[in-house]
């Protein structure tokens, strides 16, 4: 990869007492791309984002964001980044337009272009009708659009989005991602944390975090092709019986039920995973069909976040 990096972190760590919220994280985020942080709650996504914009001082390691060392030079960095907090953090007792105007003033956006920029954002983020509505009375999707409009008002080079879609409906999420792609095409680098698989799949690259440790990173396709697992899909009339039949086999790393189907992860070291599954199903007299399928991102997630012994089976 010869593309320039927007973020480069090495050995980035944050400890809260004995808790290692983020542990020796290496991160390379190329410019003008959407980079995802995928991980369960408490995996260190927010802490990492906060360290990258200078809100938290790393316990150890270094990070270079847009050419500035953080947190030493976070003051110079602030005007160049946009940040969307996990919680809605705009002023509920001010109107949509007032919030945007306040942000414009705070970022010293040239006064002559302020009004036109606000109008442009209202238009672009479909908030023209809400212009005079108090931000506190808006729906989740509207708030999120306003938060994004505020975060991009000053044309930041880097956008840090901390679980931006956790409180909105699927349609709003789709629209939101359309906006992100438009921004990335315009040259903005976007770092977004999420715990939704479908969102992670849209990222150009992503890192999977678990208990503060980066357990995998790469493009979604790379990750799917390098799980180190066979995925066997089992279709059974009684998936519960099938699950009981398979769960206790030493060679099976995990069994996940999705409706009437089971996804069974079996390490690469097993030569004929399909035979292993079928033999055991027959032994327990469970009628089912099984086939080898490609790994989904969720399989990747399950595979990389399980404990190491089961992973090696």
């Amino acid at each position: 990869m010869t593309r320039e990096l927007a973020i480069r972190a090495r050995g980035l760590s944050k400890h809260f007492g004995s808790l290692r919220a983020v542990d020796k994280l290496d991160l390379d985020v190329p410019k003008a791309s959407i980079y995802g942080f995928l991980g369960p709650n408490g995996s260190g996504k927010s802490t990492t984002i906060r360290m990258l914009c200078g809100l938290l001082t790393p316990t150890d390691g270094r990070a270079d964001v847009l050419g500035f060392e953080v947190p030493e030079h976070s003051k110079e960095l602030k005007p160049k980044i946009g940040y969307m907090t996990q919680r809605f953090s705009l002023f509920g007792d001010m109107t949509v337009a007032e919030n945007l105007e306040f942000i414009a003033e705070i970022y010293s956006f040239p006064a002559a272009h302020r009004a036109s920029r606000v109008d442009e954002l209202l238009e672009k983020y479909d908030l023209t009708e809400q212009r005079k509505q108090f931000a506190g009375t808006m729906s989740g999707g509207q708030r999120q659009r306003l938060a994004l409009a505020c975060a991009v008002l000053h044309h930041p080079e880097l956008l840090l989005l901390d679980e931006p879609t956790s409180a909105v409906d699927p349609q709003s999420r789709r629209d939101f991602w359309a906006n992100l792609f438009r921004l990335a095409e315009g040259g903005t680098t976007i770092l977004v944390s999420t715990h939704y698989m479908d969102e992670a799949e849209r990222c150009h690259r992503l890192a999977i975090l678990d208990h503060g440790v980066k357990v995998a990173d790469g493009s979604p396709r790379q990750l799917q092709s390098s799980t180190g697992m066979h995925v066997v899909e089992v279709l059974a009339d009684n998936p519960y019986h099938a699950q009981t039949a398979l769960i206790n086999i030493a060679m099976v790393a995990s069994v996940t039920q999705l409706g009437v189907r089971l996804r069974v992860l079996i390490p690469d070291s097993v030569d004929d995973p399909l035979a292993l599954v079928n033999q055991n199903l027959q032994k327990h007299k469970v009628p089912a069909q099984s086939r080898i399928v490609a790994a989904s991102l969720e399989d990747v997630f399950v595979a990389v976040t399980m404990n190491p012994e089961r992973r090696a089976a």
């Binding site: 940040y83 919680r87 705070i106």
Partner: protein, 365 residues
């Protein structure tokens, strides 16, 4: 330039939010008026150990005996002995004494003559309860007064200074100014930062180019304006409803109030940076509010309090500001008469602001 426009942006935002918060807005006007009406009624307390100066111009056996009797009463605490009655007036003006006892040079003759008062008692009527104890002193039994027949004119003539009609509102309102400003200023700023922290606004704000100083000053300035408006409101209502005068310079009063408001806002901001929730901020404010009311000389005369309570009272900015308001409004004192109180308020404001700025960082850890 950028800094100034960011500061203005923060101030505009504060004013806008304040205006929309109807309850807060109502409190700004409502608290002073309610308190004014409530405290417009008497608070009278029994007191002892009032700081007293004696000008014994007679210096006879009889006058010394009278002074000894006065000292034994424990109501007064004779701290100074001066030579002339004029000096007593100066000391009272500067707030050094609460009671002045003037014994004229013809004291012995006056004692014998039952139509003339033998002693003049100068009483600082600007303190709510001191005036009340004058009666007690007047009826004080004195050893040599053995005549069975009642005197036509009492032995002691009381001259209440500054508040001759002894109206309680006169005493209470100057102190009330201090208490109201303390309450509203400290409460508003104590919740100012922590409210934004609770609502999540702070995480957004500290990620913008706005600096800590811009944020702090932008939040405080609108409240200084509110404090000065409240002062005007109390003075106006006090004048109209209770006839409370401002005998000294109104400019002096506003200067002193500006300093006092700054001290309280700084303390409020410090609280705001120290606590995690609005509830804690309020608790801290109330923790300081009661002593500020009870130990500042607002309710009980300062001299009448136990020594430990006096030490505590001296720490509170309210104590010093009450001395200033009473001095300026009732005793026609100037700022020059009370330099110590001004200096304390100034030092307090600077120390608290520094502490708040040091505690507030643009980081979350």
């Amino acid at each position: 330039m950028k800094s100034l426009s960011r500061l203005m942006a923060v101030m505009r935002k504060e004013v806008r939010q304040m205006r929309r918060d109807r309850l807060t807005f109502a409190m700004i006007v409502g608290i002073p008026l309610m308190q004014l009406l409530l405290f417009g009624y008497a608070i009278n307390m029994d007191v002892r150990n009032l700081s007293t100066a004696i000008a014994d111009e007679a210096n006879t056996h009889l006058s010394r005996e009278f002074v000894a009797g006065l000292a034994a009463s424990q109501v007064t605490n004779i701290e100074y002995r001066v030579s002339t009655a004029a000096e007593l007036e100066r000391m009272m003006q500067a707030g050094e004494i609460s009671i002045g006892v003037a014994i004229p040079h013809d004291f012995d003759r006056r004692v014998a003559d039952d139509t003339r008062a033998a002693v003049h008692l100068l009483v600082d009527g600007s303190d709510p309860t001191i005036a009340g104890i004058a009666d007690k002193l007047r009826n004080m039994p004195i050893a040599f007064d053995t005549s069975a027949a009642p005197r036509k004119q009492g032995l002691i003539e009381v001259r209440p200074y500054y508040n001759p009609e002894r109206r309680t509102p006169m005493n209470v309102i100057p102190g009330l100014i201090a208490v109201i400003l303390m309450m509203t200023m400290m409460l508003f700023t104590a919740v100012a930062i922590v409210r934004e922290r609770e609502r999540g606004n702070l995480e957004l704000l500290i990620n913008t180019p706005v600096t800590s100083a811009e944020l702090m000053i932008g939040k405080v300035v609108p409240y200084i304006a509110i404090g000065l408006v409240q002062l005007a409101l109390i003075l106006l209502a006090g004048g109209l409803l209770f006839d409370v005068p401002v005998r000294g310079s109104i400019i002096d009063l506003y200067l002193a109030a500006g300093l006092f408001i700054a001290a309280n806002l700084a303390l409020g901001l410090f609280f705001s940076t120290a606590v995690k929730t609005q509830f804690q901020a309020m608790q801290l404010t109330f923790f300081l509010m009661l002593p500020s009311i009870l130990l500042s000389g607002f309710v009980f005369p300062f001299d009448g309090m136990p020594v430990v309570a006096q030490y505590l009272g001296e720490v509170l900015p309210t104590t010093h500001f009450i001395r200033l308001t009473r001095g300026i409004m009732l005793r026609e004192a100037t700022l020059g008469d009370l330099p110590g109180e001004l200096i304390y308020l100034g030092v307090f404001a600077i120390v608290a602001t520094t502490a708040a700025a040091l505690r507030f960082s643009k980081r979350l850890d």
